[in-house]
Symmetry: C2
Subunit: 833 residues, 2 copies
């Protein structure tokens, strides 16, 4: 461990004070000077000659300087107060861009814009230069990012820990309608938003063997590693809004370790040795693109342990800086496991307390049991993460021993409670027996955490009845839920400045940005024609932006009078983008078969679909191709014209979301009920006054509760109806319209007949697992209801305002306050201003 | 190619001028402010709390800011003037540390020291925090560095081009007397001395096939690569001394290439694809540690082509920015090949002119012939670089074709001149026929360059008579030589500040720092007792520093009264460190066998040896072990005490040289005559007033000419005597003292009997290729002469002063002026001040 200590005596402090005149100033002239200074000395461009990208870099460095000031003061303050800290462990953080978020949270956006404009640059143009930090796949990862923003804003003493992938989530490019994946070289042009901490680095061990040793008369286990890799810290400041508090997201990068295996270096084959050693860096190379299918992958397990080990070393070092023993540990440390990915940390903490701190099993276990909390995002027991025992034994031999010990103790405890019910015990065991022995990582997490959270009320029910039934019966009090939320700072203030201004104007305050309860007051004005008018103007502006983007990306011109109907999220069978496309085909078919006079009554639509398919998920990739094939036909059909357009937006990511969401009228969240644990995309649309067309799944049920089913378009089977429907599926005939549109695809109406065959097979009678057929009729009805509502401008506007007004409950501020109180037991620790 | 253009209109310039008040100021208070600013915002440490390393980083960034100003102005000026530019291509640059060199060349060392001292830091301590940039093996690489310093100081419009190795030359660590190699993680703690140019990057191609294409009715060859790797530029500013001119050393790093092989990315196995692609970076990973033994290594060939291709793309882009066609190319571009490593550039330029610029063979060849100059560092024909044709064909298929074409034309030309002398033709051919067909890279370089340089007069003779005899006979005018030199800025001013001050005091000027001719004036004072006294004081100070270092590194206490006798350079049989060690054993043996009274007459010695052995060079590694074994015996022998110590200094590099050289009294350069092309270590010792004990090899002959044999200790066979001595070697018996000391090693007097056997075998009668036995007697005599001289303090001091006084001829300033005039045809292009 190398964490440098200050080598600096207090006596010289006066000289320092004299030389430094406090904080950096935020007036436009000071900002200009800083920007130009960074152009010349940081970006190292010639004076008087720099382009938009270089101006973006210089501006970002100026903002970074200000973040660093607050970051330091916050860490200093936490250090002084020593509150209970929350450590948020997550393998994925989908941060998106940082510039706009930072200047807004720092409260210097207008000053920056003014400074730039005098230099001949436009703030908006520079902001567009930034690439996304896409260190995550989707919902789970963006949730972590939103929660970090809320933790900072609400002044909680929190740290995020994760992995600094060299390549983030792949970039999706579309060639001939097919998805291709390109590596995401997000670091290639520098990243001003991170601070490299070359001296904060820890060795992380892998492989090897376990020995016994006698320490003070007691036998103790010693792990002799076969490989050691260094973890180096990169700190990403997360500024709160309306507070000076700025917390830290610390991401670890893997580097070859110095001097840990000297022996291997006297072989003469120096070049090969060094090239092999270089491979250490591969651990933090690349984000796994699918969050369900990496079971049994060694690299994935190494990633998990790598980031967990470095984080725990860092956390324990920080604790020991202040505390002489571990008695206070549970009162000072809360460890949050975001899904099972960081679950190995419960074992790692046991290992440290046992083998390195020599606390003994009882004491160690008592500590572990009090510090971990676990949030699961899974809805199906069969989707829970497992790791083959063989793999574990090879990569983390000592951890496997400890898991066996934990499981033994748990089984003994269980026997006392439930008697000799071996069937139940084998279901609950952390070790799964069978042809391939597995470690059930989820069971491990449940056993070792004091609280297990679901991510919506509906999800919580599924946990009790489907995913963790046995555990719920054993420990009902352990199970809680916190409905997910999203941050209004990014999803309204940053991404929809016009709406932001409008809301503040009508509420007479911008307090809602920190205190989202204020939003409900919009309800009072929902029917006010002036607000409605302005509301529509704002939507129009955002639709224009989106229409421009669509034209640039796909060449399709869309009409602003059309309803923008959007489904953007990862492509997955259960999310049923296919249902959407089949609906579009149906609409197209109807239009084609209409009289000219009837066509005039059709509500024009722009159907927008976007999302990445996991690279190895063939069906998902076929859905993307189908979307393009259908779009090709529809968009070039003169019969249809502006009545219907279908557009695929490539490379959906956070910054694309920021553009798309404010510009949509209607958004679809149409997963087969019981498959979406929560869904957070819907909340972002809700905040932006987009109406939802949705199934009663995940958090949608709570949205219905909040804004009323009359203000949404709800359709389809309910969670508890699904099992029965699946039973009947092979006997009940799917509706005629459904069969018709499927037939069109199957018959090659959109080309690629052979290629689409397996896609059509996957929804055929008897195999339609996700119930597209069974929900099709009600889906079309809901779509029709949306058409009807859209024609009535006043009604639509009112519904839209009520969406935003009712979205406060879905702010991550509320989620985080819940967690803080009911799960983590932490208090705010605000920097004095 | 992405080189960003300024997107910035002139109209806003006034606003810029208003905001920027000219150059950064260099008074101590301004420097303090800058340092503190960098502590807080660049190093991102908490205010009032930073250690020496962080202070070093902050200071370096403050210095870097000032370098950047000058760098820009210089490049701007060159651009405006468009002079003929020199491009110095070298696979190795041994720059060492940058901080001290930079502050001295910028003329701000005292101000920095004062600024730091008020903040509670010591300049010297901070300077010690810097690690070496060790991107080279030894002489050849340090030569490049010295020449860059001279090019900058003499205001020449020059650029250096090289490779930015992730790991520099291995670190040597000694365990139990054995050398172990550790990777040199020089970039792990950041490198403030480089400027990353993310937008200056070029694709470099490898493998693949060659196609024919018809362009404008002519067939043209097109190379379809199998792999593409991106080269990204890192600029290292090289400031001149006493001038604002600051030139650029541009080093290339390999990165995976974006979007060059989209096709391979639709396979579903995304993770493996990305991990494989990552391997691109390996090209610039690691410096090959031995500069003679990598023949046939694919990675080495890829390194060479990688840096050459990127450099030529950059050079041609710069040329084309200003010129519409290639007519002026030879008048604007001089391309210097530092050894054969960059020789593929002659073929690459042909390829570009032929296949990309479509100039036609005649025109292209005419240009190529006029721009390249080649300096060789080789003394033996068998040591010249070769590349197997098979390897070439696979990695660079198009280049192989062009080489065949060049060779065909050359053979035709030759036939016209020398007739059908096929034996000679086969010797001179670029393609070597045989069981394994090879490309003779050196022949290629000679054929395509307009000038071939040796690195000393003696070397030049060897080129004519031994290495390139046939070529010399064909083109005598092509062959020149420029005796190597070293820069007095680094080797006196930076590394020996006391001597620097003393020289300036006695010369009444510091002009010698820019104009080394002034140094000769020291001769006038060589006998002045006051100067001699002060001279000895300076040496004492430097010996104290060195003695301290030795004690810290090896625990051996050495007496300052002893003569410090130093041999530091790479370990190699021809450099004969073994001769030195055998000499030490002999001295030890004599002392052991002396009467107590005689011992009092012995001149006490501290024998210091340092240097790295190539990792695969067994004999060299045994020499290191022998040195340690002998030292173990001698240093612990109470009979001997301070009369004799033997010390091995580990990890010899530039910064160690800066410490060792000023602290030595005597230095050894004892290669077997005819094996050292020049040697530059000797020149550094000479400048620092260390007497030389040397063989008449390489540049030593010219040193003798300059300061007189009476002021040196010259011994051993001459170059032209060596062949005859080798002939006789098996018949003439080696001297008795030699046999005796070898026997001691052989018999296990120093342990490790078996291990040292092969070492002893290598110098046995009949196998003593490097003639240790034959030179041993005269070596001992020279050593004795040194002892005698050392006792006479006045005489020694005078000799020492004359060494420094005579070292001017061995300044790289002189070398560079020679090259500029006689080889490159370039003129200074000085920034107006
Ligand atoms: C880039 C990105 N991907 C995925 C998601 C998750 O969307 P959903 O919850 O609708 O699946 C979000 C949330 O907005 C997002 O921004
Ligand atoms: C680090 C280093 N290695 C090698 C050399 C070359 O030394 P020589 O010319 O004595 O072989 C030098 C020159 O001073 C050097 O500084």
């Amino acid at each position: 461990v190398v964490v440098r200590k200050a080598g600096f005596s207090g006596t010289k402090n006066e000289r320092m004070f004299e030389l430094m005149d406090g904080f950096l100033k935020n007036d436009p002239v000071s900002l200009q000077k800083d920007i130009l200074h960074h152009v010349e000395y940081t970006v190292a461009r010639s004076r008087f000659s720099f382009d938009d990208f270089e101006a973006y870099q210089a501006l970002s460095h100026s903002v970074r300087d200000r973040l660093i000031e607050r970051w330091h003061d916050t860490q200093q303050h936490f250090k002084k107060k020593d509150p209970k800290r929350l450590y948020f462990l997550s393998l994925e953080f989908l941060m998106g861009r940082s510039l706009s978020n930072s200047v807004i949270n720092l409260g210097i956006k207008d000053q920056c814009a003014e400074a730039l404009s005098q230099l001949g640059f436009e703030y908006e143009v520079l902001a567009e230069q930034e690439g996304d930090a896409a260190l995550g796949n989707g919902g789970l990862a963006r949730l972590s990012a939103c929660q970090m923003d809320s933790l900072a804003t609400l002044d909680f003493p929190a740290w995020g820990y994760g992995l600094r992938y060299q390549y983030g989530l792949f970039r999706q490019i579309i060639i001939d309608g097919f998805q291709h994946e390109q590596p995401d070289y997000w670091l290639n042009f520098g990243n001003p938003w991170e601070i490299e901490r070359v001296h904060v680095s820890y060795p992380v061990k892998f492989y090897g063997t376990v020995k016994e040793e006698i320490v003070n008369g007691k036998t103790s286990k010693v792990w002799i590693p076969g490989e050691t890799v260094e973890a180096v810290a990169y700190d990403n400041p997360i500024p709160g809004y309306g507070t000076r508090n700025t917390i830290n997201l610390r991401l670890w990068a893997a580097k070859p370790s110095e001097g840990h295996d000297i022996e291997s270096y006297n072989t003469g084959d120096y070049i090969n040795n060094i090239v092999n050693r270089q491979k250490a860096e591969i651990i933090s190379n690349v984000l796994y693109p699918d969050d369900r299918s990496y079971q049994g992958k060694e690299l994935r397990l190494k990633q998990q342990y790598f980031f967990v080990s470095a984080s725990l070393q860092d956390i324990i070092r920080r604790f020991k800086d202040v505390h002489g023993n571990f008695d206070e540990f549970p009162n000072k440390v809360a460890l949050q496991l975001n899904d099972t990915h960081p679950s190995i940390s419960v074992v790692e903490l046991m290992r440290i307390l046992l083998d390195e701190e020599h606390l003994g099993w009882k004491k160690a276990w008592n500590i572990v049991r009090q510090v971990f909390t676990f949030t699961t995002h899974t809805v199906l027991p069969q989707a829970l993460e497992k790791v083959p025992v063989d793999l574990f034994e090879s990569v983390l031999p000592r951890h496997l021993e400890i898991i066996y010990d934990i499981n033994f103790a748990f089984m003994e405890e269980l026997k006392k409670k439930i008697g000799q019910d071996y069937v139940r015990m084998s279901r609950m065991s952390i070790v799964e027996e069978g042809a391939v022995k597995n470690i059930r990582v989820a069971n491990l997490s449940v056993v070792c955490s004091h609280t297990v959270n679901g991510v919506s009320r509906a999800h919580s029910e599924l946990l009790k009845t489907r995913v963790f039934t046995d555990f719920y019966e054993l420990w009902p009090a352990k199970f809680q839920y916190k409905t997910n939320g999203v941050t209004q700072r990014r999803w309204i203030v940053v991404s929809n400045p016009s709406l932001c201004a409008l809301i503040s104007k009508w509420l007479g305050t911008d307090s809602w940005i920190r205190n989202v309860d204020y939003l409900t007051r919009l309800k009072e004005h929902a029917s006010n024609p002036d607000l409605q008018h302005e509301w529509r103007m704002v939507k129009k502006i955002n639709k224009m932006r989106l229409a421009e983007y669509i034209e640039t990306m796909s060449g399709v011109k869309v009409s602003l009078d059309a309803m923008f109907d959007v489904q953007v999220k990862r492509i997955h069978e259960y999310k049923r983008q296919l249902l959407n496309i089949l609906g579009v085909i149906h609409r197209y078919d109807c239009i084609k078969n209409m009289e000219e006079s009837d066509r005039r009554k059709v509500v024009p639509r722009v159907c927008i679909i976007g999302g990445k398919a996991p690279p190895g998920y063939e069906i998902a990739k076929k859905i993307i191709k189908l979307c393009h094939a259908v779009a090709e036909t529809i968009n070039n059909d003169e019969d249809v014209g502006d009545l219907l357009k279908l557009v695929f937006i490539p490379d959906y990511n956070v910054s694309v979301a920021e553009l798309v969401i404010p510009g949509s009228d209607l958004s679809q969240h149409i997963s087969t009920a019981g498959h979406e644990a929560s869904g957070t995309g819907s909340m972002k649309f809700l905040m932006n006054g987009c109406l939802l067309l949705a199934t009663p799944d995940g958090s949608t049920n709570e949205i219905i509760e909040e804004i009323g089913a009359e203000n949404m378009f709800i359709f389809g089977a309910k969670i508890n109806e699904v099992p029965a429907l699946r039973e009947q599926e092979s006997t009940v005939k799917s509706p005629i319209q459904f069969a018709r549109v499927v037939r069109m695809v199957k018959d090659g109406y959109f080309g690629y007949k052979d290629y689409f065959k397996s896609l059509c097979d996957s929804i055929e009678n008897g195999k339609d697992f996700y119930l597209l057929g069974s929900d099709f009729t009600s889906y079309l009805e809901a779509q029709e209801a949306a058409d009807v509502a859209y024609v009535d401008k006043e009604k639509w506007s009112k519904m839209s305002i009520l969406c935003t007004a009712g979205s406060g409950r879905f702010s991550s501020d509320r989620t985080i306050e819940d967690y803080a109180e009911k799960t983590w037991g932490i208090q705010p620790c605000k920097l004095p201003s």
